[in-house]
Symmetry: C2
Subunit: 439 residues, 2 copies
């Protein structure tokens, strides 16, 4: 009815009417624009909706929470602890990869490491310069599928191809449990695992692997053999300020690093080597060329983005909340976990842990003792097989025997999901305070 009435009325717009209409259109367009700006603030993708973001953070936490009767697997050093930080960073490290990217094998034909993405090389240099943990000037960067591949590349590059006997490879016990497996996997005629460096006969040529802070026990290491024919490879995967004070700028001949333990992105499979000698860097490159025709470009691009955002949180502080300072955030989390762990262990006489000397960190200015990514836990009293004992109580760890040490020890990953870690601490506290634990 109202409609037909309006149709029959003669409506003659005045300038005043037109003005009102125009202002109304303005308001409408402005609202739509504001809505657009709001969408533009984020990037499209699974994590752009703030509502989804919250849901996803919850998912991560929920996924990790083990029931009290479930096994907790702390055998591997899976760095899932880091997920919460990167979720909080939202879309700042989101990477958009177009379908036409990563076609060619080549990343930089002018570099002897032709599969090294220049952006990744820049990000690595920038981060080392920020943290001060390793020299990069006059070093050659070689990228690898994790530091595992680079470690093999170094052995290949350093072992003579025509020697009558395979090169001896040693590392001081307790050593990284994968060293013997990787080295002897193919029964190479170039090199051979010879075990504990402290028991090595110095007359033969050898390569000594120096892991510092050490996996499994977190100790700060230097070469132990000191023979004349020795070559050193330094695995510095854990030489970052969340784990240990950065007390000097490392400048060894070959230094290995990995994204896995620095940023927590283990699934990216990216590591890098800083190599002084150009010919060694070239031979390492050759090994990676032969064994996998280079290294994933996608992973290098992602790693570059992530390392750059870490540097940004320090160098472009105006754009970031202070709580997002990466190394500070993770340092605090590690410190908290170590407090919880030491408190649980001190509840009784069942377990013991190493103490680490306190040093000043040149990066943060703070004084602290190493707070490693793994605990090297000793079972005391009558418990002979520590791994077996903990397994009975549904905590999976790795026995000291895998590291060239005793079964009184286990290595326990401390960098898993928070919920998993809390449940581990709860169980360990109970075991620790038992009067006479039976194996």
């Amino acid at each position: 009815m109202g409609f037909s009435l309006m149709r029959n009325q003669k409506f003659m717009p005045t300038i005043k009417h037109l003005l009102i209409i125009s202002i109304a259109i303005n308001a409408g367009l402005l609202l739509k624009l504001l809505h657009h700006e709001h969408e533009w603030a984020g990037l499209p993708g699974p994590d752009t909706n703030p509502k989804n973001e919250v849901r996803l953070v919850k998912d991560v936490l929920r996924k990790a929470k083990p029931a009290t009767d479930q096994f907790i697997n702390l055998d591997h050093g899976d760095p899932t602890m880091y997920e919460v930080y990167w979720k909080q960073m939202g879309d700042k490290t989101t990477l958009v990869l177009s379908g036409w990217q990563s076609i060619s094998y080549f990343s930089d034909t002018k570099n002897h490491c032709w599969f090294l993405e220049p952006g990744f090389a820049n990000a690595v240099t920038r981060l080392h310069n920020l943290v001060g943990n390793a020299q990069t000037r006059n070093y050659h960067i070689v990228v690898g599928t994790g530091s595992t591949q680079l470690f093999q590349a170094a052995l290949y590059a350093l072992s003579p191809s025509n020697a009558p006997e395979p090169m001896s490879i040693v590392s001081a016990a307790p050593f990284y449990s994968s060293y013997p497996l990787i080295i002897d996997c193919l029964k190479s005629g170039l090199y051979k695992w010879k075990g504990d460096a402290s028991k090595f006969n110095k007359d033969d040529p050898y390569i000594e692997l120096v892991t510092s802070p050490n996996n499994p026990d977190g100790s700060i290491r230097q070469a132990v053999v000191n023979g004349s024919g020795g070559i050193l490879v330094h695995d510095l995967a854990y030489y970052w300020p969340q784990y240990t004070p950065i007390s000097f700028q490392a400048n060894h001949d070959i230094m290995l690093f990995t994204v896995s333990k620095c940023t927590g992105h283990a699934g990216i499979r990216i590591g890098w080597a800083l190599v002084k000698d150009k010919e060694v860097a070239k031979k390492m490159t050759k090994f990676i060329e032969i064994s996998s025709i280079g290294v994933s470009k996608d992973s290098q691009l992602r790693a570059a983005k992530i390392l750059d955002v870490i540097a940004d949180t320090y160098e472009h502080t105006e754009k970031f909340d202070k709580a997002t300072l990466f190394f500070h955030y993770v340092y605090n989390e590690m410190a908290k976990r170590w407090r919880q762990l030491r408190s649980a262990v001190s509840k009784g006489q069942t377990f013991s842990l190493l103490d680490f000397p306190v040093e000043k960190c040149n990066f943060s200015g703070q004084r602290f003792g190493t707070q490693p990514a793994f605990a090297w836990l000793k079972c005391e009293k009558s418990i002979d097989d520590c791994e077996k004992f903990l397994k009975k109580h549904k905590i999976l760890t790795r026995s000291g025997t895998h590291f060239g040490s005793s079964e009184k020890y286990v290595r326990i990953s401390l960098i898993s999901h928070k919920e998993e870690y809390d449940e581990f601490i709860r169980r360990l506290s109970l075991l620790s305070s038992m009067n006479s634990p039976h194996e």
Copy 2:
């Protein structure tokens, strides 16, 4: 002067003035909104602006165009030909990766291949089912850092760890030039390169590598040794309908594939193996665990997206232009390049090429002869060293000697950028029609 005049004038806005201002604001807001809609049509990133897209396509082409006095490098099989197709697909294969992805080492703890992304496994199965080139039912999928790593994983899995002598590895000449390099790289005690399969003594146990279509010569291959102690590994990197008729569904014990030659994404470094025997698949997985603690998740996610889009172009035809059917598009490009190549070679007596039998392709329904990714070119007449001859004319190729064959032959990549290919054809035509080429 004009400014002071205006300042002294009294400006009293009428409703008419206000209307004009309001309409002007309307127009401004509308323009800004339209600009927003324009941006929104694509995804953010370097390739979202249609103007940029065009520029980037041009860049690819321009980048590839060699000057007439420049070297053309056709030594490697770098599949840059594929860039144009993926650029044309715009954002359909764009992948957004969030900063919190790829943290854990694990992709699927229920699968024996624990680093295999389920989405990638699904995409592989889906594509094989679409194309019909290989059975997937009752096969185990193992993912690798390219098929190069999987090939080594297969050798590790199939060679006994306690045999008195290393396992013999053979392949019929001309064989893939990297086989001897990869196999003997570490002087393994598990296996050893024994060269041309057709000259192999049948009494020893051995592994025969069957590459079909073959790299370098494109021939369709079957095992040649036929000994009782033989194990076969089939490298089917080129068994895709752009290169050869899909005449049967392959169901060999171990079949290797790679994204590089299927979709052209060589820089992704992703390959996969279809393995019948569960224990062999497990041992292959073990090798990849030891040598690189799994395979890049980012690359697997990208590969999954790309393989799925290829299947989509066939299975969701309503969403795609017919010109985007992936295998048809690339088939046509390969057919064109082979016509150009044969036409250039037929201009004289300088060169010759193999002929390939015509067969029906069960995938496309078409009848055609293999049109390999490489040309296996023979220099005729007095030209003894074909690589050297072409190098003098600024065409870099790989000599037959690397493939266990004669220096009369070279392998030439046919899957580089169009501009590079056209320039190669131009130069080859000139050489071909020379009356008496001198080496």
